[in-house]
């Protein structure tokens, strides 16, 4: 996993609440056995006018020329609800997003983001609203500093938090499986004490 330190990027304002993972990556694109090829189908039903994905929907925010090259997704509450498919953050990452800012995330989606190195930032509803307002005036570039836990946009600075280990894992690009495999003694000790039925 790549290390995450600071990131400066263009913000896409996706002004929709309760975006579920079916919308992020529809089921017809889940039939791959590889980890790549999902970015082109991100938000497929909104992004394209036809089922085959040949006609780009010019009204969908991500398709507007001013948001080309955006790497920060700004969105509303309960982002990533529904299915546990990690294909959703894979698609978001492959499209080029490094950071997602929202007032709240669904639990499984939030964990999946951290596990692949995307930074999900929870700000308050008021802060998110402020960013939406600024973004409506002109395309917005913001700076995210993970070690300092800050989001900076001009004179505005917001702070966010992650759990200690999630922060450490993102900053250091920790291989979580390798990390836990160093704890095999503790796992074996636990197994030795388990009741017979377990």
């Amino acid at each position: 996993m790549e290390k995450f330190n600071t990131h400066t990027g263009l913000v896409v304002p996706l002004d929709i609440a309760n975006v579920d993972t079916d919308q992020i990556i529809p089921k017809q694109f889940l039939q791959k056995t590889e980890r790549v090829g999902f970015g082109v189908h991100l938000f497929h039903e909104r992004r394209y006018l036809d089922h085959e994905g040949t006609q780009v929907n010019p009204n969908f925010v991500m398709n507007k020329p001013e948001y080309k090259g955006a790497s920060i997704l700004l969105t509303r509450e309960n982002f990533g609800c529904g299915s546990s498919r990690e294909h959703a953050p894979w698609a978001i990452e492959e499209y080029g997003f490094k950071v997602i800012i929202s007032p709240s995330f669904a639990d499984i989606f939030y964990g999946n983001c951290i596990n692949i190195g995307i930074l999900p930032i929870k700000l308050t509803e008021e802060e998110v609203e402020q960013l939406f307002k600024l973004s409506a005036e002109a395309p917005l570039t913001i700076n995210v500093d993970l070690p300092k836990n800050t989001v900076t946009c001009g004179d505005l600075t917001f702070t966010f938090s992650l759990s200690e280990f999630q922060q450490y894992s993102l900053e250091n690009g920790v291989d979580s499986v390798g990390w836990t495999l160093n704890k095999l003694d503790a796992i074996k000790a636990f197994e030795a004490k388990m009741p017979a039925w377990q």
Binding site: A17, N18, D20, D22, Q23, P26, K27, Q28, L30, Q31, K32, T33, E34, R35, E45, H51, R76, E77, N78, C81, G82, S83, S84, R85, E86, H87, P89, S104, A106, D107, I108, G111, N112, N115, I116, S163, E164, F165, Q166, Y168, S176, V177, G178, T180, L181, K183, L184, A186, I187, F190, E191, M194, P195, A196, W197, Q198
Partner: protein
């Protein structure tokens, strides 16, 4: 004499699975049972190979084929090339890593969350995970069960553990008893209607009260299955005699003295009487009526004797906007009586409602409309949750009741719940579905889903619209 702090069932499950809680690290929990399927496992296996890591306890993982299999044929390539590739990859991976697989047409094959319980793979007091958000189903047994992403599937393969931050606890108490004809699906939809579709984000929910205790295991599974639909990490029901009677004698369940000891341990799992929950929600069972969703998330639900709401009915600006958008997508007018909504598709199946009791309930309604058939305007399919369910239903003659009435009787699988195979709706189709999600496009681009109980789905198939069966 020692006094200990009263604990909730979740806290007990947490404590009995805590491998390590090191300062500065996310706590490490032991995973007893891992269920896998073809869609969310291939990349996890690929990473194991890349790092040359084995599956630590292959005997604790069980694989099934469910998400994108055909419901018309047991041939592995019957649902297209993409599906066949994934199914073959699962076969190859299970063989290479020593994992038991219930493949196409195997007597134990079924939807993971139907198969696990019916084989006794699901036990109280365990942690069960699967790369599928409806893993919460197994919480009906008093197991801590939740959906995980593919990176976590890999973590479980390699270590038999997972890192989890502790969730908050919510108690949902349903007092008294539901009226005649009210199903477990109505109970859970009513709960989600009350909390909203993100009402339990960050929580593990425990369902309790007389109405929950009175439910059969299959009904409890229906309730816990939809915990994720209001954001909960997991749903739990305290194990009791109903649970023990269900588990006893199942193929993979402990036997003899080991089972007796297990029952003692499982009995101690229930939340202590004075345990404190972060949030408590109470419902009166007698107030719960048959439910039908009208919108595009499971919280957008009303009683069947109600009307489609208007954006003006909501105070919260986000809910107002959400209602507005949902009415457009669903092509519904505010104020329309729910019983006036016509459907052209009916799907009875999914990990929420495809067990034998669900099929019996649906067949019971078909029989109530003696001699009447599925209306011409409707295509109705019944997809049992597993081969065992299918076999039992056929033994009882339910397949005949359905087919005589014009329903299609299909092979087991996830089917139209998510439409990864060819069981998809066309744009504009309106479906009475016993599944768990009414998201935009869930059952097919432009399709419209109304979540209902098996009884309501059967009545909609015969009449072409929703019916207040208690009227």
């Amino acid at each position: 004499m020692t006094t200990s702090t009263p604990q909730t069932m979740y806290e007990k499950l947490w404590q009995t699975h805590l491998v390590e809680d090191t300062e500065g690290e996310t706590p490490l929990l032991y995973v007893d049972r891992h269920l896998i399927h073809e869609v969310t496992s291939p990349q996890a296996f690929a990473n194991l190979r890349f790092h040359n890591r084995p599956v630590r306890h292959p005997e604790r993982t069980i694989a099934t084929m469910d998400h994108n299999i055909s419901t018309r044929s047991i041939k592995i390539d019957a649902a297209g090339e993409g599906a066949a590739n994934q199914l073959r990859a699962l076969e190859k991976n299970c063989k290479a890593f020593g994992i038991e697989l219930f493949g196409m047409g195997h007597k134990n094959q079924g939807i993971a969350h139907v198969m696990g319980p019916e084989l006794g793979l699901t036990l109280p007091g365990t942690i069960i995970v699967c790369g599928d958000s409806h893993t919460a189903t197994h919480g009906a047994f008093g197991a801590l069960a939740f959906g995980i992403g593919t990176s976590e599937v890999e973590h479980v393969f390699a270590t038999q553990t997972l890192r989890q931050n502790k969730a908050k606890t919510m108690k949902i108490q349903v007092n008294g008893h539901v009226g005649a004809g009210i199903s477990a699906k109505d109970i859970i939809l009513a709960i989600i209607g009350k909390t909203g579709s993100a009402g339990a984000t960050g929580y593990v929910v425990e369902y309790c009260g007389e109405a929950i205790e009175a439910l059969s295991m299959e009904e409890r599974m229906t309730v816990c299955n939809m915990s994720i639909e209001f954001g909960a990490k997991a749903g739990l029901v305290a194990p009791d005699q109903t649970t023990f009677d269900y588990v006893k004698g199942k193929e993979y369940a402990p036997k003899g003295e080991v089972f007796e000891q297990a029952v003692i341990d499982w009995t101690n799992l229930r939340s202590d009487a004075d345990a404190v929950f972060d949030t408590v929600i109470t419902l009166e069972a007698k107030d719960i009526k048959a439910q039908v969703t009208w919108g595009t998330n499971p919280g957008q639900v009303v009683s069947v004797d109600g009307n489609v709401p208007s954006p003006e009915d909501f105070n919260d600006p986000m809910e107002k906007e959400s209602c507005k958008q949902a009415l457009v997508y669903m092509d519904l007018k505010a104020g329309t009586k729910m019983t006036d909504i016509q459907v052209n598709k009916v799907f009875i199946g999914s990990c929420t409602n495809s067990r034998i009791e669900d099929l019996r309930a649906a067949a019971g309604i078909v029989e109530r409309y003696a001699g009447q058939k599925v209306v011409d305007a409707v295509d109705a399919i019944i997809v049992p949750g597993s081969y065992r369910v299918k076999e039992q239903a056929e033994k009882e003659g339910l397949d005949k009741i359905f087919m005589d009435a014009g329903f299609e009787w299909r092979l087991p699988g996830c089917s139209m719940c998510l439409g990864m195979n060819d069981d998809v709706l066309e744009s504009g189709d309106r479906c009475a579905s016993t599944s768990n999600r009414n998201f935009e496009g869930r059952q097919g681009r432009g399709s419209r889903t109304h979540l209902v109980s098996p009884e309501m789905a059967a009545a909609a198939a015969i009449t072409g619209h929703f019916v207040d069966l208690n009227a």
